[in-house]
Amino acid sequence: MQKYKVTFLPDNKTVEVAKDTTILSAGISCGIFINSACGGDGVCGRCKIILKEGNVATQISPALDLEEKKKNIYLACLTTVHSDLQVEIPQESRMDLNASLNDIFVKSEEVESKEAILSDSIFKHSPLATKMYLELPKPTLNDTSSDLDRLLQRIRKVQALPIMQTGLTNIRQLGELLRDSDWKVTVTLGKRNDTVEIVLIEPGDTSNKNFGLSFDIGTTTLSGQLIDLNTKKILGTKATYNKQASFGSDVITRIIYARQEEGLERLHAAVTESMNQMIKELCSEHNVDLNDVSYVVCTGNTTMIHLLLRVDPTYIRREPYVPTANFLPVVRAAEAEIKINPRGLLSCVPGVSSYVGGDTTSGVLSSGLYQEEALSILIDIGTNGEIALGNKDFLVACAASAGPAFEGSGVGCGMRASSGAIQKVKVGPQDFEVTLFTIADTKPRGICGSGYISLISQMLNAGVIDKNGKIKLENHKRVRNGPSGKEFIVVFKEGADASTDIVISEADIENLKRAKAAIYSATSILVKHMNFQLTDVKKIFIAGGFGTSLDIESAIKIGLLPDLERKRFIFIGNSALAGARQMLLSSDATIQAAEIARKITYFELSVDAGYMDEYMAALFFPHTDLKRFPSLKG
């Protein structure tokens, strides 16, 4: 097949691809990430590139106007390679995933809420991987049991364990290893659901080096923790954007992308590469040898888990929306290309359905929703928002596609909750002066989810925007026309750690309005569907990666959360990650998680006739039906 060289500017990276490859795919194959919200369907118009040299074939797209066509601008996803090319990627089409990665590793530390960490203690400490130092009796002519039997007997003396397995690799080296180490070895036992596996046998006593990892694989954000399994101590936490975002910003476009040639492989590689990089960083920062990490627990929505394990997610999207698996067996981490100890194990939190995944299960686990006496609700505000309603007697959950705005993605000056992110704002009612609070009190670099919530609520208060989210303030130095309509300058660039002013545009507000409407309307419909009223809900657990805290008052003011007594709200941070950690640290929690996943009834919003109407009514600050927000009067 004819091959051509494509050079990307300004990076000056060149890749050789077959004729008819799209420029978008060519970019991805050499690590150049071009914006693409629709995953290459030619709909979103965000993957604009400038052709400098060479021949291409392209399709007509309404996303490009005449001016742009004159300037040789093409959509990377609709344009294929027909000769050697030089292509420039303009700033607005760049997806700087690497920058955010580096940034994370240098500066950021996700702060976890106290409630989530405290609740760890309710489960008995029995980690999924344990290390045991053993001194074996040497064989004699009177005691001729085999090396393996000798090892198993010795283990059972310490702990009565069910059926034990061990791999051939271990057995092959067992004879020499026992004798070389003078019969003093450390075994790593890993739980594989109901059985126990001898994962590893090492010479000498390494029992104090027993580590595990928990991951929450979000559609937009990937968070991970390194944990000392002996002491339960969290050594480090990291978060970064999920690199799969360059294949589409929501799960549906990624499922569609997975059907493309090598699509599934690329999606799989995108997430595992980020995870491996994160693991490497976590381990080196905390002086942990990769070989001492023997267990990983992953949670995430059903699509993310499918992609992690390189399982085709196609049928999640097709009626009647059935995933390949909700309960997955424990596998070797290496099989999913996760680089820890080569024999280490990987367990995924069980999911409920195609659109309510293991992240909901682990959220319900860590919030304790499943044992509440009173009616409670868990609202996990992510790209794929999940809402679980219930108590100790029943659990029902639904999913709402909110988009990544609250995670700081898809909004102009959005960023993840890391140092320099504006997380709280005050806007003066007369002078419109802005007072800022940033994470780690550093110079502002962007706005994170909680910052946007606070900002919109303050702009409403001060009268900068109307209830529809349109900027009504005029003739003020902070208001101007930007590339995507009117914008309000939050920080002038002189005061920011950024090359441009930090702004919020009407388009950003529109995005955030849609996100909050999706979450609010899903919550309201789920409660209504069960014949309750919002006021019947006694506890509301709020989870999500907004920042170190969430101002409940602001969240109600913008209509993201229902207007209920403030003390009923509990912000629990990343509850999915906390649940995964609890499972890693306790097999009781693992059993409980499976029970929760079986108990949750899935409720499909799209079949509810009232959902669309609820959603439309919620596209207003706080809501079209003002009576639902009685405390905001005046």
Partner: protein, 313 residues
């Protein structure tokens, strides 16, 4: 035994909007039109008194329409070129109780008449006819933001109904209505939520909800009338249940919708009139308070229909 009818008691009430200020009210109109005030669903005379009958306004333009059908051109003939004569014809010959003037000629694509010219026209019109006036912009947001304040000022104190405020462009026109003492048409695209939102946004600017008339956007018979009908019904149910933000009377632009359907364009000249009449009757039953119509024969039929319907006890 006498049949006992079940009647519903509602907590809410549609607000009453008055159009036209008389001399006593420091205007120059000979009479005022009151619309709204319902306390029950349309035409349920047993449930609650219906204080105001639906009203009709004749639609006139500032320029001669180029796409009106012969059936209409025949009626208005040479006055189409002269909005003042057109207005007089409607009032004198067809006994119009109110007029709705559309400033189509101000649209950049239809002549781009200046706001000054249009304001002068409004002033003159108010001198020549003494019925209450509805003033509509040309539909181009940028132009309307120049045009409507000028026309509003020209009609200051006459308590006109001006329009239309839409979701993306409501501030300038609201401020004008507020300053010059007019009421406002709030237009939403067959969507009860947007109708409510717009009313909230307008009242947030200080214009009382009692000075807003909702244009729910309608379709002609066979062209989505039932969608309009159900949205109007839902809005009424919400309003009667106590939601003040949607308790405004409805204005329906029947003429412009019915005179462009293919059924009106056949060789049977009566068909357009029939279409305008039938669409109007359905909308009256859906709760329309003010109809803006084109053909005098259709208006005559609807006048009679309203008379019979609302005087029946």
């Amino acid at each position: 035994m006498a049949l006992q009818l079940m009647t519903e008691r509602w907590s809410g009430k549609i607000s009453v909007v008055s159009i036209g200020a008389t001399k006593e009210e420091l205007g120059t109109r000979t009479h005022t039109i009151r619309i709204g005030g319902e306390e029950s669903l349309p035409c349920l005379f047993q449930e609650a008194p219906i204080p105001n009958k639906p009203a009709i306004a004749f639609e006139i333009w500032d320029i001669a329409p180029s796409d009106w059908l012969d059936e209409l051109n025949k009626v208005y003939g040479n006055v189409l070129n002269d909005p003042l004569k057109w207005a007089e014809k409607c009032v004198k010959e067809f006994k119009a109780q109110s007029l709705c003037i559309k400033m189509q000629g101000a649209h950049p694509d239809f002549g781009n008449r200046s706001e000054k010219e249009e304001a002068a026209l409004v002033k003159e019109l108010l001198k020549r006819v003494s019925v209450p006036l509805i003033i509509l912009g040309c539909g181009d947001d940028t132009k309307d933001n120049l045009l409507l304040p000028a026309c509003s000022e020209a009609a200051k104190g006459e308590r006109c109904l001006i329009g239309s405020a839409v979701g993306d462009n409501y501030k300038t026109i609201t401020a004008s209505a507020l300053a010059d003492g007019h009421s406002l048409i709030a237009e939403s695209p067959i969507d009860i939520n947007i109708a409510k939102q717009l009313n909230i946004l307008i009242s947030d600017m200080g214009l009382p909800l009692e000075r807003i008339v909702i244009n729910p956007t309608i379709g002609a018979l066979g062209y989505g009338l039932e969608y309009a009908y159900s949205i109007m019904e839902r809005a009424r149910l919400a309003a009667l249940s106590g939601d003040k933000t949607v308790a405004s009377p409805f204005v329906c632009f029947v003429g412009q919708e019915t005179w462009r359907v293919k059924e009106a364009k056949t060789d049977h000249p009566e068909q357009g009139i029939i279409w305008e009449t039938l669409t109007s009757t359905a909308l009256i039953q859906a709760g329309a308070d003010l109809l803006v119509m084109r053909h005098p024969k259709a208006v005559e039929k609807i006048d009679k229909y309203i008379e019979e319907l609302f005087n029946h006890k």
